[in-house]
Subunit: 441 residues, 4 copies
């Protein structure tokens, strides 16, 4: 991957000239180390690439390390902050909300913290959602619960109206937790803020249960999702073994990437086929999916299939016209498509199968975070606060090479991480499933 | 309920004249108490009814208590036994298999125990499923796993061929674990055995995750099913609360009875509507389901609905013709029907909702039994063995008034237990949900 | 068991002359059935005993069935109620609190509900614990959490001071959730109330995680306790198998009864020795525990032992003097005693063992109730309210032959349910463990 | 930290001259990428340090990246491999065993794989433990179970006898999974092998549930341990809140490091005091632990304390002589020590407390790995096989900067990773608990 062209400069609202309040820290004998803006972590850690870069007398690309700064930009006693969660539910949302609120309140002494309800809708007057004044007590116990304490909604809203709302409320720091679309909106909001000459820090925490954010090695909620997905695989395995020619077919999340499908398959080790967006397969013909499935049934009498929701989209192009009458939704649902395709295939061959289809997505994404994700979320939230207090803006809090880092929104937006078909993860999946290429010829 | 006409006499193959081997028991200082055939437990425990019966100088109906008999019919050293599991998966199948095998082997010294694979298919030569010779080691650890160690299948098979197989294998005791259809088949098998003059004990262990077997106060797997169903309800609640006008709709098992839906709703207490087969509701019109749902959304902004798969079947009669083109499967799926109905209803009213539909059935039924169900299954299996060894036949092992009992197959077959719309369970559901009658007018 | 002498008459405060408010119920088409005071369930359900009783022209003993009465004693708009939880934590306490509060508030319209904090201490001024005014919102979500919303404490308090407090607060109904000692106190409180001519209903909900309350077939929290105890057994089993001569020793709750130990052993099936208070065993000598343990290690290389905390108390009498120097606490701890005894025994024999001791009690009892226990608690709480509203007093809410019933405190107090050494449960444990009598000779 | 002096060269047995068999891989369209020995990942990823190193014209320290090599040293058809697990149980042992066996068998075609039972004892004839011939079927399902499939034992054995055994069995590759002591033994074994001129690859997989291995950013089982430890904290919290002046005291694993204690405290967020080996505290005096605990009780009425088993060891030095009579074991148990200290302290002050002590260690370490740890273990096992097949020896498989790497045993042995008292983890713990310095003055 070409890391050299990555933008790694974090915009700021101005000079951070106020000393960070340390009343909480100074009572600890081990005084807290502040992080300097010059502390940076290499993006590419390959010895070869780094050596090459230095040989060319260039500086290797690096990210600013996140954490508390010695000087801050905002006066905590005056600052008003807002939080919003957008898009689909994801384990860990409440942990991040809690962490941001507690760090603002106890770490810096900020007293005006507002929750924008139901995603971007919450900024827009016509929806009539109340703004919530958040106190620490209100969020102390929300991590035991899944979902979002603030609610969420999908879809874009007018950027001008959003900034109007921020201006009206006199917000100084806005924390936006959301996926692709939200971060795109965050970029536009930050630009509009600059245009209006306002001083509002916009800090994003990237949310995607699919773990496919560019330049973010891990996104919160992913670990929980994998853990819970294994239950569905176990169920599918028992159903498959339970009947002659039993097939368990599980659709897992992953519109553009197969990280959940691949990782869950490795975690459970009972899976015979993993289908992901990054790796094409043929449905029919010798060596194709159905043919290989038939061989597997002959050999072992049952099969477990995990399909990421974005896998096999080319199949819809090929067969598009057949499905027009049934409406768009069904057209693109690879899980139901494969279910129907397998049933037809074996019916034509007069082979009795027993196929069980499982779609656990809502059960997974609405759960509370597991321990690992919760710890991760608590760091993300704190670092988001440190970044905003320092007057940094238009950035994401990410995790890279074992450090929490600042990533300029422009560096990550519009790109996506995917499973490398030649990499360690997918190779391990192939080893574990023995599924082969699933291609003709 | 009229209990008086219930058949409570257990058929036997002949005189139990062999002393029960007690090598295992005698080494325990607390020697095992045998159960006498005259030990019976009242079916109806109402003081009023029992008094009335005695006043009329009749004997109140009662069940024989299950357990080891002092004399047995079969010579353990010669006996050959067979086990089969039929129909849908249910938590606890492996626990029962294990318990039967260990009791036969260690309790009585039976050495020839055969597993019939894949349900009734396993008896029929044309399917070509192997018979498994089961040793204790093979089943020692199967309770950690869901599904059925022996596999299963649905649908009837020819009774003659089944009995042919039993005769060919020289089976003396057949243990059948299955639902309605299986117990009906068991009855016919037992009759055919009698007709041929064979001496084969047929003992059934009723399986229905729905807990709706007549004269059986609790069926195995039900407790596990309720426990796991609460996870789906929790997910639906988080999804519902997460969005403006959020609706979580969960379809749970229950073709003819609402026990799982009602009990899970009480266990989780986050449910606003429970729809079950036993209680009719109106879909449309004032006071109907959709109207009440709209009112709930106006009041609280979200709603959680649990629907048993057999609820609202009359809706299909009324609307039957509209759905003919789409095929039979969809016609009867109340979950998808309600989903579509709610979406249309609010679309017409121009109210934006966010509905999430969850169908966790396969995840639930394929799990291992929880502790409670496992203990229950271990008793069911042992008592099935005791009954068969004593030469009893054409009976079920049931649980009634805190005792394990023998129920003649003829007493239970073809009838069904249902939620009493005036009883304690449904009243508690109405109290907990506050849903009202959901009827017009 | 002799049931005939059981007191089954429930005292009342006076005539229930007020119609039960049914505003909540009447909006349901299926109007709620009230339960009549004459509806009773037989205590003994054996056909033989009941027949004998009738032959002798006596009425068989029976319990009043719990549930809502058509007429109530208290005027809900005037009634002030108090709740208190006492003794050790137990899964389900919060479910009962919630159920009582919601039934009082929504079912009857009672608006003054007070929580007494930290058990009986909460009545006594010198401790200074606040009384809590409980509204439904405060308890809506407490079932997700273990422990007690009201806190608890151990030990008795002055009955006079308690009744002073009730009188001062003008309480009409007192709900006491607690074990042996609490129910004994409840009896005395009820008597003092009568002496003072007050009209206060005292309703007890028996709490014992050990499930050993006389005349109560099941106590709340027990099922959760068994389920969680199996995790500890699984851990002990893995530790035992993990090392040469590995021994896993788990101490489970059960001061006077071995229900948890026995049931958990059946649920997990990995246990080789179960020691309970009801069944004596010899520690040393041929056939004794240590000798049998040694044989088991020789045969299989590992062993799992479950000991109820009240087992083997006679061992302390015999060896009492040896242990005096070490203090009282250690003297009575059978878990640590057996650990030391086994270590010494094998050391003397020069056999290397690896013994792991696990005491999971606090982890078990402080958990939230599982689904099964929660449903059970919600019924207990509601029925406690129905009983109090009807003016009944000095009673417990119990569960008997599948019905919730009213048990006079005098019938249950001071007696205890125990595992029958000749019964089905213990026989199954012996079959499952193969431990034998563990007695010399 | 000074990374420059780290030894990063992996010893080899000789030239890897055999082409890696790729029968399994070539059927996949996406052929597997081999990893070159020149692929290395930087150890230090700080931009400043790396720049400085290059300015000094030195090469920055780096680790070899793990993975399959194009050429291997051993002929799979002749190779005989051995596996051994040593020391305490840890979640994931079975996952690593399974992964090594399956990769050897299916990935390379190795057919002779031997399990050494019960740790290093298994090599020594006098213990008489059998060697197990492991086939894939034997390990296919072991990941559902905790513990070690091969058993384990503690303590050193004679290195000469171990190498005798390897020589006798004609082993070419030895996989050792264990902690500190085991890796020290592995180094000596590798040295003895070299001295004897044998060609045996020794590959270590570092095991420490405490996550404190030098140069290994994460050790398997740690994530599972943290997850399960949160249950104990939740229990302690409920117990603490349940009583007046309730204290929940949990001892967690961590002889030399506080990673589990710190991370679990962040995951659960109900903890008020975390005590770890890396940070000293005063027990008595103003500002000390007991004084601060008293203040906390006054303020909030309850407290939750997590103590790592290696914390506060200096307290034993000070008080050593008082405890001599009671034996060594008790002397060093900080959990029981703090329990006793707190009880005495409050007794003297005449303050009634209710302290519950929880030690969940055995329950934690004997569990199966969670999904995250299992995926991790499956990579560790595969990479261990790749390293051995390539003829590399005296190395560990580690994880560093998101890559699996080869670490020379000499680089890691005898050093330890610890929680940095000025770093992000401990700062977050201090923020979360608000415990302060716990030091006098």
């Amino acid at each position: 991957m070409d890391y050299e062209s990555i933008d790694t400069i974090i915009p700021t609202l101005g000079k951070a000239g106020i000393s960070t309040p340390i009343q909480r820290w100074e009572k600890n004998s081990h005084s807290r180390n502040f992080v300097s803006d010059t502390a940076r972590v290499l993006i590419d850690v390959s010895l070869t690439s780094v050596t090459k870069t230095f040989k060319e007398e260039k500086e290797p690309p690096s990210f600013e390390i996140a954490g508390p700064r010695e000087k801050i930009y905002f006066d905590p006693s005056k600052l008003r902050c807002a939080l919003v969660t957008c898009g689909g539910l994801c384990p860990g949302l409440n942990g991040i909300i809690r962490s941001i609120v507690l760090e603002l309140y106890y770490g810096y002494g900020v007293r005006n913290i507002y929750g924008i309800q139901y995603g971007l809708q919450g900024f827009i007057p016509k929806y009539g959602h109340d703004i919530v004044d958040i106190k620490p007590e209100a969020v102390a116990n929300i991590i035991k619960k899944g979902g979002s304490f603030l609610g969420s909604s999908r879809g874009p809203q007018d950027v001008g109206e959003i900034v109007d709302c921020l201006e009206r409320m006199n917000i100084g720091a806005l924390f936006m937790i959301g996926g692709d679309g939200t971060l795109m909106a965050a970029t536009k909001i930050a630009d509009a803020i600059t245009e209006r000459g306002l001083k509002i820090s916009v800090v994003g925490i990237p949310k995607t249960i699919d773990n496919d954010i560019h330049l973010v090695s891990r996104s919160f909620g992913f670990d929980t999702a994998v853990e819970v997905a294994t239950n569905a695989i176990r169920a599918a395995h028992n159903e498959a073994q339970g009947y002659p020619n039993g097939i368990g077919l599980i659709k897992l999340m992953g519109r553009h990437s197969g990280f959940i499908a691949s990782t869950a398959a490795l975690a459970q080790q009972d899976v015979n086929f993993v289908l992901i967006p990054e790796v094409e397969f043929d449905l029919e013909g010798p060596g194709g999916f159905l043919d290989t499935l038939e061989k597997r049934l002959k050999l072992r009498g049952h099969a477990v299939i995990v399909v990421a929701e974005g896998a096999g989209q080319k199949l819809f192009e090929a067969r598009g016209e057949e499905y027009d009458a049934s409406g768009n939704v069904k057209l693109n649902d690879i899980g139901l498509f494969l279910k129907d395709a397998a049933i037809s295939y074996f019916e034509e061959k007069n082979i009795k199968i027993s196929l069980k289809y499982i779609d656990p997505s809502y059960i997974i994404r609405s759960l509370p975070a597991n321990a690992n994700d919760h710890v991760f979320c608590s760091f993300l939230g704190r670092d988001a606060v440190h970044a905003a207090m320092a007057g940094k803006t238009k950035l994401l809090i990410g995790h890279w090479n074992n450090h929490f880092v600042h990533i300029p929104m422009t560096a990550s937006a519009g790109k996506r991480k995917q499973v490398d078909p030649h990499g360690k993860l997918w190779s391990s999946v192939l080893d574990s499933t023995g599924q082969g290429s699933l291609k003709n010829g």
